[in-house]
Amino acid sequence: MRQSIRALGWASKIVWIATTVFMVTSLYSPLKLILEGQIDIGSPQPSFSNGTMTVFIPFLVNNTGFYDISDLNVTTSATDCNSTLISTSTTSVENIPRGGNVNETHVISVSIDDIISKNLTYLLSNDAAIVLDVSVGLKIAHVIPLEVSTSVNMSWGAPFYNASVRIADFPEPYNSSHYSINAWSSFENHSPFDVNGTLRLEIFNEREEFVGVWSDQVSAPSGWEYSEKVTIYVKPSQFSGTGEVHAYFEGTLGSVEWWFTYGR
């Protein structure tokens, strides 16, 4: 009996010490990386191509901790003020051995098609506040799951901020068969990307009959305001002074369209 009691006592002491040491070192291990600045997050690099906005965020993790870091997942979710999900992306690193390091890039991409399909087209013509939820999950020593998360408020600059088309109330005679109408098309590019492409304005009357069209190349670098006075030729019999303008843009941002009313 005494031998068993003694064995239990020693077993208890040994497991106590081992658990305490493991607990302290495993919890201190990720903290050590933060305190020593072994996690480096680079500055985001935005780019735009084929109607998709992509932000590359490089990060480096140098594991100077006491244990391996496994199942590292970096997840970002961008939502608008109505909590509608704009984009979510995840970067995974299977294992960072003790003493090793990893250099990865987290990619956040948002396509114009996604924005349109999620009924978020207001983001194209209105600046907005976007909440970016960042979550980093990992396993310490392959057994302790740890998750760190935060929310960052970001401002979204609309590429077609305050987009508008105004049509002059009174057309002027152009020739025997057509009138000319002056129209003003404008928008401000608040996005970090250049807006280049073709803008097409189609005028319809109140009976939804096609009246006239104008089309031209537009170029609005980031931070610039686009404003253009255009002349559209219409048939007097079709132009009634009221109706809708269909604005259609196709270019670096993909295909975007708006409807404006005039004369009301």
């Binding site: 009996m1 497991v15 302290v24």
Partner: protein, 159 residues
């Protein structure tokens, strides 16, 4: 004369137990409260936001109090059945304490990043640790029970 001698030996034993209890209690206080606090202070700079959250400082204090209390009473009642009863009691109290302190194995904390508005949330699944801590205390529980049985069987043999 014999009564005086008996009283003297009892007083001597009580004094010895009290001294031992005070000494062991002090050592346990150093090991369970002062040492962890000093280790955390040494590991984490005071300017860093990653110190022990205030609610966990209180829990550490409670842990220290439990350990010191049971160490002292176990030593005070050394040589009696109560010593083993307190050993078993300590194991049960510590199991309950760990389940409560580790929130069933889920650690959740949030703090504001200095100089910024963002709040950093930390979630850790410490169920593996909790299982180990419960296992250790079950070992202590079994040890206490065996010691109690051994003590009682020893007393029965003497009769």
């Amino acid at each position: 004369m014999a009564d005086e001698g008996n009283l003297k030996s009892v007083l001597k034993k009580i004094m010895s137990n009290v001294t031992k209890a005070a000494l062991k209690g002090f050592i346990m206080f150093l090991l369970t409260y002062l040492l962890p606090t000093l280790v955390v202070e040494a590991m984490v700079p005071s300017s860093s936001p990653f110190g022990i959250p205030s609610e966990y400082t209180t829990l550490l204090y409670v842990f220290s109090a439990i350990v010191v209390f049971f160490t002292v009473v176990t030593e005070l009642f050394s040589g009696t059945i109560l010593q083993h009863a307190f050993c078993v009691g300590r194991a049960i109290v510590l199991i309950v304490y760990f389940v409560y302190a580790l929130n069933g194995g889920i650690f959740v904390s949030a703090f504001q990043i200095p100089g910024q508005q963002q709040v950093l949330r930390i979630f850790a699944n410490l169920r593996a640790f909790l299982a180990l801590l419960i296992f250790i205390n079950l070992l202590g529980f079994a040890k206490g029970m065996l010691q109690a049985i051994n003590f009682l069987s020893g007393r029965a043999d003497l009769k």
